[in-house]
């Protein structure tokens, strides 16, 4: 069977939600060591950390951070949705709830970009 045909059974909303949940999880797992590296700078003294923090104020880095926030929010909302399904909610299985989770994740990332928390 061709790849296109193989993918065809996997285009429904719940499968896409599963993929987003899985990929955001992998993305976060890849990011974690970098995060610890940055925290490790703090132990090496304030200069190293300040240097890092200055670097992190560049727009490109800021955008990457927003991406991370998006991953985190998507993984969180995806996880809450799965929990709700397992608690017996059939509503959590609907497209509406999947879209709501994604919209909330995008909103959180956008709010981060706009500096709501800084």
């Amino acid at each position: 069977m061709s790849l296109a045909a193989r993918l065809r059974g996997r285009t429904h909303a719940a499968y896409i939600a599963f993929l987003i949940h899985r990929l955001s999880g992998i993305g976060l797992a890849v990011f974690l060591p970098l995060h610890f590296l940055a925290l490790g700078q703090a132990i090496q003294g304030p200069q190293a950390l300040d240097g890092f923090l200055d670097w992190s104020r560049q727009p490109l880095v800021k955008a990457a951070e927003a991406g991370l926030v998006l991953l985190l929010a998507a993984h969180l909302t995806g996880g809450l949705r799965v929990l709700a399904i397992e608690a017996g909610s059939t509503r959590a299985m609907t497209r509406a709830v999947i879209s709501l989770g994604l919209a909330a994740s995008l909103a959180i990332a956008l709010m981060f970009l706009l500096g709501v928390w800084s």
Binding site: M1, S2, A4, A5, R6, L7, R8, G9, R10, H12, A14, Y15, A17, F18, V82, I85, E86, A87, G88, T90, M93
Partner: protein, 242 residues
């Protein structure tokens, strides 16, 4: 739907695990099902084509195949629904099951897993006892109602990625069946059944990605049944029942 072309271009899987798609030209007709197409090929073009069907009305569950990449019951799938204007259809055996020949799969593993999930009723009464009275409104009876109409077609099993990733996984249909029995107040094997579905390759392996629910031709929700088993086995483990 407007009949765009008069002839369907049908590719059908021929062979076993090793094989290839063979093209056939089949006249397009009104209200034609995918099973009609396969039957036409077998009766008019190639009598050597192997496939399964019995009831042709969506009751027996024997006619499932992969149609344009999706598992479907072919006797109730209209060509108009799957063939585009170009009239192309690709028909392959179900995924996740060994192919015997052409469109016929070996369903042994699928049904063995029903047995492994303790999918048969274990009665506690004798013929001398009165009938059990089960209220149709009882929550447990309603949970059974929601899951009982399974025809054993294996569409969900073919759609499930966890089955593909872990060949030991009991799969949506067997677990859905177990859920109906767990909720059957007449049944006497709850403990054994909960233990059987609590293992590594059973309900807790399900990722809730709903491909089973999305494809089930009877519109059942094995995902919900499995979620129910997750709760019930969790509770049984906490209370020391299993």
């Amino acid at each position: 739907m407007a009949e765009a072309v008069a002839t369907l271009a049908v590719s059908v899987w021929r062979g076993g695990a090793e094989g290839r798609f063979v093209g056939y030209a089949v006249p397009r007709r009104a209200n034609q099902t995918v099973l009609d197409v396969v039957t036409y090929i077998q009766q008019r073009l190639d009598p050597g084509l192997s496939y399964r069907f019995a009831c042709r009305v969506g009751m027996c569950g024997s006619c499932a195949m992969t149609v344009n990449g999706r598992p479907r019951w072919t006797c109730r799938t209209h060509v108009a629904r799957v063939a585009g204007a170009d009239g192309r259809i690709e028909i392959a055996p179900l995924a996740n099951l060994p192919v015997i020949k052409d469109l016929a799969c070996d369903l042994s593993a699928f049904f063995d897993k029903w047995a492994a999930a303790r999918g048969s009723f274990v009665g506690t009464r004798t013929r001398r006892d009165d009938f059990a009275r089960v209220s149709p409104a009882a929550p447990q009876r309603r949970a059974v109602d929601a899951a009982i109409e399974c025809i054993g077609c294996a569409v969900c099993y073919a759609a499930c990625d966890v089955v593909a990733w872990n060949p030991d996984y009991l799969g949506p249909a067997a677990l859905n069946r177990a859920w109906t029995l767990v909720n059957d107040e007449r049944d006497g094997a709850e403990r054994a059944r909960l233990s059987a579905v609590a293992g590594d390759a059973a309900c807790h392996a399900c990722h809730s990605h709903q491909s089973c629910t999305e494809h089930c031709p009877k519109s059942l929700s094995p995902t919900s049944s499995i979620a129910g088993l997750k709760r019930r086995t969790g509770l049984a483990a906490l209370t020391g029942k299993i």
